[in-house]
């Protein structure tokens, strides 16, 4: 999980000090990136990330444990991104995003962003929450409103799709490992 905020900062912001502004500033890049990967649309991602940051600021006092801030924030971001995806079921290709000036350095990395294009927003959200935010299937279920078995199914499908997509194109890796279900 990339979002690392000191518990003291969260608690300070919860207490109503001036720490909330830097806290939101620290959350913003992660919120935007996660929303962009799910929505694949810069404008939608910005709006969803803004909504998520506002929701985080609004609900911060309801967070019981400051240690859970990162996971809690990711859930909120994903929830808003999925809500945006439901409102506007539209995706754009990586090329289109690049044309619009979305900065994204793919040099030397797996072409994962392009591979994620074959997934639904919900599958992308599940992949991010599982492998990026480190949440369990039950936590992803709570974040997405999808039953845990369905989450595990989506993760399995997503992994399979990623393997297919990444194996199809030229890349320095081989993907001959049999997929295992995620429980």
């Amino acid at each position: 999980m990339r979002l690392k905020i000191e518990p003291e900062v969260v608690e300070s912001a919860q207490a109503g000090s001036e720490a909330l502004e830097p806290l939101i500033a620290a959350v913003w890049p992660e919120a935007y990136r996660v929303a962009l990967v799910i929505l694949r649309d810069r404008g939608l991602a910005e709006d969803a990330a803004q909504e998520a940051c506002a929701a985080i600021a609004r609900s911060l006092t309801s967070l019981k444990s400051s240690d859970a801030f990162a996971a809690w924030s990711y859930k909120i971001v994903v929830s808003h991104a999925l809500a945006s995806a439901r409102r506007r079921r539209r995706t754009e290709s990586l090329d289109a995003l690049a044309d619009r000036g979305v900065g994204f350095d793919r040099s030397g990395t797996l072409d994962l962003y392009a591979a994620l294009a074959s997934l639904t927003p919900l599958q992308r959200a599940a992949i991010l929450l599982r492998y990026y935010a480190g949440l369990s299937s039950s936590e992803i279920s709570a974040a997405t409103g999808v039953p845990s078995p369905t989450v595990r199914f989506h993760l399995m499908r997503a992994r399979r799709a990623l393997r297919t997509a990444l194996s199809a194109g030229p890349n320095p890796f081989s993907y001959d490992e049999a997929l295992t279900d995620v429980h």
Binding site: R2, S12, A13, A15, G16, S17, E18, A19, L20, E21, I24, A25, W28, P29, E30, Y32, R33, V34, L36, V37, E46, Q50, E51, C53, A54, A57, R58, L60, V102, G103, F104, D105, R106, T109, L110, L112, Y113, I127, L128, Y131, Y132, R159, L162, R163, L166, F173, S174, Y175, D176, E177, L179
Partner: protein, 254 residues
């Protein structure tokens, strides 16, 4: 090997490579304020309270949920700009203030004064938008809000991406002299206080039209003077501190 660890590592690398735009604190604050169940006198009003009267303009975000983030600075604002804002307008008034974008002719059909469109604009203006918005009128006698006659906002974009506005309204001497300055919150905390920047405000008359513009990043004071001169406008001197002797004030709430 297509392992969980590889997916996680690839996601880490991929997300780290995504450039992010600057933190849009102002927009986040607006969303905070907009979603308040019982919003107090806050950002939207400050952002839009373009004083057609002798009041100062404030562009502030003041949602109430997070004191540290937003700060309760109304008292600070009042002390700085020497202007006590009216209470927030009721929803009935606020909802009636819907902006309409259209042509100059359409705008003319909605207002009660003769529109004299801006001329002598900066050379690199590339687009124009004309927005008509009813004003809100607050009576200090009855302490109530009502919907007033519309005013017109000319919004311009320059080739370098900057934008600026020229505000046209019916000239009403009962409104008193305009404020010489407008104030803008910069969404930054400096020395523990909200950073507030003062801008010069210019007003001129053409017939029964009063036009005003605020000097800033979008347009300079000399460029505003060029517009006024090209329009043949008569300067209406601003005052500071504002002379607040009127019983009614008009505000724009887009």
């Amino acid at each position: 090997m297509f392992t969980d660890a590889r997916i996680a590592a690839a996601l880490d690398t991929m997300l780290a490579g995504i450039e992010t735009p600057p933190v849009p604190l102002a927009q986040i604050r607006q969303k905070l304020a907009r979603t308040q169940p019982t919003p107090r006198f806050g950002s939207r009003f400050y952002a839009a309270a373009v004083g057609a009267a002798a009041a100062a303009l404030l562009m502030f975000a003041l949602p109430s949920v997070a004191p540290g983030f937003t700060q309760t600075i109304e008292a600070e604002i009042e002390a700085i700009v020497r202007w006590k804002p009216p209470p927030p307008p009721p929803k009935s008034v606020e909802s009636a203030m819907r902006s309409q974008t259209g042509t100059l002719a359409a705008a003319q059909s909605r207002v009660s004064f003769k529109i004299v469109p801006p001329t002598g604009l900066p050379r690199n203006v590339v687009s124009e938008k004309i927005v008509t918005t009813p004003t809100g009128v607050y009576s200090k006698t009855t302490h109530s809000w009502s919907v007033g006659s519309p005013a017109v906002t000319f919004i311009y974009r320059r080739a370098d991406g900057r934008t600026f506005m020229l505000l046209a309204d019916r000239f009403d001497p009962r409104q008193g002299p305009p404020s010489k300055y407008m104030f803008e919150g910069m969404d930054r905390i400096q020395n523990g206080r909200e950073l507030i920047v003062r801008h010069e405000n210019f007003t001129w008359r053409n017939g029964d039209q009063s036009m005003s513009a605020v000097a800033g990043e979008g347009i300079s004071a000399s460029e505003i003077a060029g517009v006024r001169h090209a329009m043949g406008g008569i300067a209406v001197p601003g005052t500071w501190p504002p002379r607040d002797g009127t019983v009614e004030k008009r505000y724009r709430i887009p």
